[in-house]
């Protein structure tokens, strides 16, 4: 409990650091909201026109004033207004987040459901032909870029079968579950494939480690069945690296899967941030990055707590 409080207490500090980083980084990139909107035509503006547009976009003040205003707003729960959407940043993020969250959960389910059994299977068939087969597939999975797999799936479905889930407008889960799943299943497979491959590899090697441990040998010598050795004795200990990997991957996925969202035209967080960067929608980029960082910290915390649950010997926060 003490540990939890201490961890939570560091959150504001980390977020402050992130806020400064993102604020400075996005402003260091050449170009601003005006050139993003007008492109090369921005050169036709007179200085007075430019000033008036800068005031409209809120970039007419020195950067520390802008930063101060932004931070002040956050303390009042106001992340600012997105100039592209003409709405509060928080509203836009909250609207986009369910898709990203759902996609991340689905891909993780696929990854764990496929990757763990495959990894355990390979470990228990170590150095046999079937192990080699699993390892080759996992290697291919890890090295296939998601845009290749995504486009391949889309092409095969549309050209070979003439079907494709509806693209463009996204149906939230609670409004139209069937349509929602049909839209998300392919992207989830695309993301889950590479994710499953990493899970396979890490669970295989963790399992191999554990299987050569003394306690497993003891269990075996006491006559425990092969099944019980693997599932009851070995697996819980082999889970720790899998949890670490899944936690990190999941954290990344919560930041949005830019490429997969692009290909499948899903209005998720990743595409939103990419568009916001291209349109120099400063408030939206800043707010979204802060939100993503916050999620990442929560996921990390949950991973640490999961360690304790998996291995009672681990005591968090004690020297």
């Amino acid at each position: 409990m003490n540990y939890l409080m201490r961890r939570l207490a560091t959150f504001p500090l980390v977020l402050l650091g992130v806020s400064i980083l993102v604020f400075v980084a996005i402003r260091m990139v050449p170009g601003d909201s005006i050139t993003a909107m007008l492109g090369t035509e921005a050169g036709l503006l007179t200085p007075a026109q430019r000033d008036s547009l800068a005031a409209y976009f809120g970039i007419d003040q020195p950067w520390f004033v802008q930063y101060w205003r932004w931070i002040g707003g956050i303390l009042h729960g106001n992340l600012g207004i997105s100039v592209t959407y003409g709405r509060p940043v928080l509203d836009v993020i909250v609207e986009r987040f369910p898709l990203t969250l759902e996609l991340a959960i689905l891909s993780m389910i696929i990854a764990l459901a496929v990757g763990m059994p495959a990894g355990i299977f390979a470990a228990t068939h170590n150095e046999k032909l079937s192990d080699l087969g699993v390892r080759i597939v996992a290697m291919i999975g890890q090295s296939t870029p998601s845009f290749v797999l995504g486009l391949l799936i889309i092409y095969t479905l549309s050209a070979g079968f003439g079907v494709l889930p509806a693209m463009g407008e996204f149906a939230p889960l609670w409004q139209d579950p069937l349509r929602n799943l049909s839209q998300l299943i392919l992207p989830a497979i695309t993301l889950g494939f590479a994710f499953a491959a990493s899970v396979t590899r890490i669970s295989r090697s963790a399992m191999l480690d554990v299987l050569s441990d003394d306690y497993v040998r003891t269990a075996r010598s006491k006559g425990a069945s092969a099944r019980s050795v693997i599932w009851r004795h070995a697996l819980p200990n082999a889970l720790i690296p899998v949890v670490t990997l899944s936690g990190i991957e999941f954290g990344y996925l919560l930041g949005g899967a830019v490429i997969v969202e692009q290909i499948y035209a899903l209005p998720g967080l990743g595409r939103m941030v990419l568009d916001a960067i291209q349109q120099r929608d400063y408030a939206l980029v800043q707010g979204a990055v802060l939100f993503i960082a916050f999620n990442f910290m929560i996921v990390n915390l949950l991973v640490d707590l999961a360690y304790v649950a998996l291995d009672p010997r681990i005591r968090l926060g004690e020297p």
Binding site: V29, L44, S52, T84, L157, P165, M167, A265, D275
Partner: protein
Amino acid sequence: MVHLTRKLLSGITLAAMLGVAAVSTQANAATLQMAWSQDATGLDPHKQTAFSSLRLLELIYEPLVRVDASLQIIPAIATSWEFSKDGKELTFKLDSKAKFQDGTGVTSADVKASFERILDEKTGAAARANFLSIASIDTPDATTVVFHLSQPDVPILTAMSDVNAAIVPASEIKAGSIGTKAVGSGPFKLDKWDPNAKEVLSANKDWAGGATGVDGIEISVLPDEAAILAAMRTKQIDFALLNDPLVATLVPKEASLQLNRVPVLAYHVLQLNPSRKPMTELKVRQAISCAIDRQEVLDTASLGEGKVTGPLTIPALATDPSQLFCYKRDVEKAKKLMSEAGYADGFSATVIGATGEPPTAAAEAQVIQSQLAEIGVKLDIKMMELNVYVDAWLKGDFDMAIALNGGRADPYTMYNRYWTKAGNLQKVANYIDDTLDSQMQKGRAETDPAARKAIFAEFEKHLAEMSPWIWLYTSYSYTAQQKNIAGFVPTPTGTLFSLSKVTIQQ
């Protein structure tokens, strides 16, 4: 047969699993399903310059006049117009049936307020520079508008055909709601806009232009053009805008799809920076022009999808490129020019380009790099994110730049920004030439079409010979459609206005 049945069965299962959209498209067959890869960036017709924004806003707002597929001026809100004899007074008669989508009629007061908004520096209007000759605006009655000009300005009429000169309700200007609410007098109303995801348009029943062919248009933003093509194959999408020639050339391979392509006014160009050594030397610039094989750039970078062009891309005014300086590659001449300029051993320079804008930019730079290597010019290619590129471009901070610059239906409006002494983008062109400047001024004032054509032919010839830039080619604008969509007319300006009369055949 067994194989086929199995394939069919698995197809049906898949279709059921994925909840194919085909069912829903048939239910509202009169809605045109459209897709593009880049979404509009805003709703203020006076401030937007992004291609998609203009295409969207042209369906909602109307200017006083329009240009047709052959770039002739035709009526829009104005039914007729006339220049006074001295060319300093331009009078419009408005269509008395024209109505804004909030039900109020379009009056001369709205026209006056709209142009005053464009001219007001505080607005930050994109096209303000085209209207600086407007000295005052009179509104003798509700359907008559008189523009008093400070000098004869023929191109102003063409500039008024742009959606950047759209007429917006005076009441909305007063309320400060232009850009947040879209109230135009065009064929469609904007019901919903979810940026970077979707636009929903419905037919404007009161449109003065008559009934539209479809009840509405739904535009989906599908960022990947290969995915747009896939969605068209499965009939989810009826009509789409394509940018990438690589994707466009795949469309005719699908039996149910049709590709529309039309040469556009925008031009691909290698901009030299004549303020930087050694491009300060005329002979060096000319050598570069002679060393570049424009057709090869077009064939390699764009699969031959386009046409080699000189500076003027307007079909009625363009000169046959083979008549222009060094449009036939001549490496020997180029080498000779280089050594005359004192650069027999060549030089090194950097060329900048924007990633994906146009999609062919990197390929163009690479072909040019290899062609210029033959005369000893070592090019270093620097690709940048679009915004970073625009920033460097506007500052004129480059040796050479690969660019896709927009064209206009009038050569003066298209080029005065670069090649007149007072041009706003003179800093980008970095090249001052008295001849070009005086030719531009003459062309601006000349009202006789034949005389105008002669002036601009001279202008084009001189510009190609001075080679501040190396004009390469114009590409096509592509739209893809299902074959049951009828009535779309592609035009060189890229406008989608004819979607107002498009119908879906069953």
